[in-house]
């Protein structure tokens, strides 16, 4: 009944991704990161949305919640708020995280919830069979844009930086070691961390492995991740597409913020800061 540390794979459920899917690489990389960090599996909660990427929660041997489309982040916020002792990993696809669920991102950033969000971006809606997504480039022909996608794609990293997410990184399924390193850092970061992972879909190849491989390049050596302006500039580059930790700053986590509130509430309640009993609280309503 003790936790199997080295192997985080859930025995009973085997992956259903297409062979060659980028998500296999991501899973490997994340497993390595967990192995590095030695988080006990029973102390972890993985929350995921719906989509091919959303199946991530099925394959790790942790407590796992595979919820509805686009709501992994607010669910995980509830998890972490009540149980700050748990390690929380959130996973979603580009549609899940930036389309239907995109509205939740700035508010998790404002709270600086201490969890790690992996956005597995294949520039398409994989599970529903290849429609265009918020990161599909303009003009791409997809199932839902037979004459080319009419919309511009989102600039993911600049947006996350504008939200002031306290840790922002990018990597790709093509680089398992990098995933492991970056995800380790993200999970160690106190506060909200997002890793944008370019993970090509082989069945609906909007984001093409080959083109991606040619353009990725690690961030310049000298990049200092607490410099938002520099991070922004590098984030806007599309050739090369940089990978690595763009931005990382310290600010109070949600837990710290709420503990601060509790302390001031108790102080105001009694000079000694001793918590009141329920009956004494009810007496306020006499």
């Amino acid at each position: 009944m003790s936790t199997a540390l080295p192997n985080y794979r859930r025995k009973q459920i085997r992956p259903v991704w297409c062979s060659g899917c980028g998500n296999y690489g991501v899973l490997r990389g994340v497993e390595k990161a967990l192995g590095n960090l030695k988080v006990p599996a029973e102390q972890m909660v993985v929350v995921s949305g719906i989509g091919c990427a959303g199946r991530f929660s099925h394959y790790l041997n942790t407590y796992a919640l595979h919820g509805t489309h686009g709501r992994a982040l607010p669910i995980a916020t509830g998890v972490k708020t009540t149980r700050p002792d748990l390690t929380v990993l959130v996973v979603g696809g580009d549609g899940d995280s930036l389309g239907i669920g995109g509205g939740h991102l700035p508010h998790a950033a404002r709270k600086n919830v201490d969890l790690t969000y992996l956005i597995l971006d294949n520039n398409t809606y994989g599970l529903t069979k290849g429609q265009s997504s918020p990161t599909t480039p303009w003009g791409c022909v997809t199932k839902s844009s037979p004459y080319g996608s009419p919309e511009d794609s989102l600039d993911v990293l600049p947006i996350l930086l504008a939200y002031d997410v306290s840790f922002v990184a990018r990597t790709t399924s093509l680089r398992i070691e990098e995933i492991s390193a970056v995800v380790s850092k993200a999970m160690q970061h106190p506060g909200f961390s997002i890793v944008h992972i370019l993970s090509p879909c082989v069945t609906y190849p909007v984001l093409k492995q080959k083109a991606l491989r040619e353009r990725i390049e690690p961030l310049p050596e000298g990049h200092v991740p607490d410099n938002k302006a520099a991070a922004l500039q590098l984030a806007y580059s599309s050739d090369p597409i940089y990978t690595g930790v763009f931005y990382s700053i310290q600010k109070p986590t949600l837990d710290a913020r709420l503990r601060h509130l509790q302390e001031s509430a108790l102080e105001r309640y009694s000079a000694k800061g001793t918590p009141p009993s329920i009956p004494s609280l009810m007496e306020r309503f006499l």
Partner: protein, 613 residues
């Protein structure tokens, strides 16, 4: 003042209404009066309505004061205070013949033939004198009312001081002056007192003065809930606002989220990891939560959602009352997932039903929806302080079937069942059991790791879409509802009225008090009526309602909506015909309106008996 004659023995039963424009402070005038009245031995019950706008429009507060439990806002007014012409025009018909009218002569033109005691009170003038503006009118009125019911001026002074404490000494001083001028004016004019509240000894600490929304917040606190997530919405916001004040004191946490979907999601997450979580909202917000509610049911995660109903559809009448979300609560999800629907009947009951909601939710791992409404939620009423030394925490494995419905005398609490060490050896989170409930492992427990997915899944949590699996898991989930329905037999629903009455009334939620008073009124007229008011609307307490129905000749179903939602369910479940009494006007139904319905039905019965002869 009504007294003496009624069969439900009231010596004092006094109904006051204060009406004016939004922004004139009529509501806070009424609330201060109610608060003062609550410090006597009387019971107090308020009802208020204000416009959806911040300023302008019609606002009013009604306060009923009585020497015994109050069940409804009552029907006709003993005393009416109006600040302007619109308020007069809209409410004068509610004043009893011979009742007392207090009005601002500068703002209100009276018709010649009013059958009322007329008391002119120069509100605008006195307010300007005391505060230099019209903003003190409400406190002038409060002073004059103080005289009228012989409230001690000191009591009122303390309340006013508390009220303006945060605004600084200057504001307090001006309002004190306004209070004094009002009191003095009434005294000078030698207004005849219409109620004597002065020398009644205060009740001590046995009674609280609570709104329905506050009662829910306190109920959650007592039930052991320590997480809430919400998004502001009228008229539910005070539940969150109360919890956000209290939780930090008891190591609980309250999150205001970016929308309702995020709010219910956060609560689901909190409950998934073991916390009891509450989600307060109102209809339009509730609509946005159904997807996650459906998920909670599929994942078998406990969750309590409170819908303080308001007038609909759409944005509708945000500050008015209506009972029109019953369909949404029972049916409003895609596919079929069980959930429990409860409806408290009063402010006090809101407290106990909230505790019960948590017990049911934890016991059966189901979402529970509690339907209250604007009239209960914003009303203030005196509530007996529960005996918190009699809280019994039940063991979730042993006491599964013996959870009692919470009452002032004792409160049972129960938490979700966790797997035993033995069960963890081969842990199947969604194990098929006799009652459909399977122990739920709390994250952090080694060996308890499992996948909770909204996809159809096997006992162990693995996705599985085979016909056999879908059928057996649907059965598992719905078995809980059958078990709950059966468990009602050990918790009988009260039936009021004579056992041989041929007319029965069924109602739900906030109409309980008005129906009860209508029954008393009918009894005075020699018409006997039985009244049943189930707290649980889904699953139906089938056997008990059947037994109630079977002895009746005529069934009246009372509710505050347009289409007769409860009647529809009753008809579907019991195949009965019913006389439906709806009111869909944004305000509560009154005992008199129900009485008229009863009298009509009684007329039918009479004709029917004649025909039989």
């Amino acid at each position: 003042m009504t007294s003496g004659k009624k069969s439900f023995h009231s010596e004092v039963d006094f109904i006051l209404r204060i009406a004016g424009e939004g922004g004139e402070g009529v509501i806070s005038c009424g609330e201060l009066f109610a608060r003062a009245a609550a410090r006597t031995e009387y019971h107090v019950f308020t009802f208020l309505t204000y416009p959806a706008e911040i300023r302008g429009g019609f606002a009013m507060v009604q306060i009923r004061v009585r020497d015994w439990t109050i069940y409804s806002m009552g029907s006709k007014l003993d005393c009416l205070v109006v600040f302007n012409q619109q308020a007069f025009d809209r409410t004068i018909k509610e004043l009893k013949k011979g009742g007392t009218l207090v009005y601002d002569p500068q703002a209100v033109q009276l018709p010649p033939d009013l059958e009322a005691t007329l008391l002119a009170l120069p509100l605008t003038e006195l307010s300007k004198e005391a505060t230099g503006s019209v903003l003190g009118k409400n406190i002038v009125a409060l002073g004059a009312l103080g005289h009228l019911v012989e409230m001690e001026q000191r009591v009122l002074e303390n309340l006013v001081r508390d009220r303006f404490a945060s605004k600084g000494a200057e504001v307090i001083k001006r309002n004190m002056e306004a209070l004094r001028l009002g009191y003095a004016y009434a005294a000078e004019q030698a207004w005849r007192r219409i109620l004597l509240m002065a020398d009644l000894r205060p009740k001590g600490s046995q009674y609280m003065m609570l709104s329905g929304n506050e009662a829910i917040a306190l109920g959650a606190l007592v039930a052991g809930c320590r997480f809430t997530a919400s998004y502001p919405i009228t008229p539910a916001t005070p539940i969150f606002e109360t919890l956000t004040r209290l939780f930090p004191l008891v190591d609980g946490r309250a999150l205001q989220m970016e929308d309702e979907i995020a709010a219910v999601s956060a609560a689901l997450g909190a409950s998934f990891v073991g916390e009891k979580a509450l989600v307060p909202t109102s209809g339009p917000g509730f609509q946005l939560m159904t997807e996650q509610l459906n998920l909670a049911s599929m994942l078998e995660v406990p969750l309590v959602l409170v819908d303080v109903q308001r007038g609909g559809p759409s944005t509708g009448l945000p500050t008015k009352t209506e009972q029109s979300d019953l369909n949404l609560a029972i049916y409003g999800v895609s596919g079929e997932s069980p959930r429990i629907v409860l409806a408290p009947t009063s402010v006090e009951d809101s407290f106990y039903q909230t505790i019960r909601a948590f017990n049911l939710s934890e016991r059966y791992q189901l979402p529970v929806i509690m339907l209250t409404d604007q009239s209960i939620g914003l009303r203030k009423a005196t509530v007996r302080m529960p005996d918190l030394s009699h809280i019994i925490q039940l063991d979730s494995h042993v006491a599964r079937t013996k959870v009692k419905i919470p009452q002032p005398e004792f409160i049972n609490l129960i938490d979700r069942a966790e797997p035993t060490a033995k069960e963890l050896e081969d842990y199947r989170r969604f194990r098929i059991t006799a009652d459909g409930v399977s122990p739920i492992a709390r994250p952090g427990t080694p060996g308890g790791q499992y996948l909770a997915t909204g996809l159809e899944h096997t006992e162990s949590g693995k996705p599985d879409y085979t016909p056999e699996n879908h059928l057996q898991m649907s059965r598992k989930r719905f078995r809980k509802m059958e078990v709950i329905a059966r468990s009602f037999d050990t918790n009988p629903i009260e039936i009021w009225g004579r056992a041989d009455a041929k007319i029965g009334i069924l109602g739900w939620g906030s109409t309980a008090g008005a129906i009860r008073e209508a029954r008393y009124l009918a009894e005075e007229r020699g018409i006997h009526v039985r009244h049943m008011h189930p707290h649980t609307l889904s699953p139906m307490p089938h056997r008990q309602i059947s037994n109630f129905l079977v002895r009746l000749e005529h069934l009246i179903i009372v509710e505050e909506n347009y289409t007769g939602q409860f009647a529809h369910h009753i008809k579907a479940h019991f195949g009965v015909k019913a006389i439906e009494l709806h009111k869909c006007e944004g305000i509560p139904i009154t005992p008199e309106e129900i009485l008229r319905g009863i009298e009509k039905v009684a007329g039918i019965i009479d004709e029917y008996s004649i025909a039989k002869l």
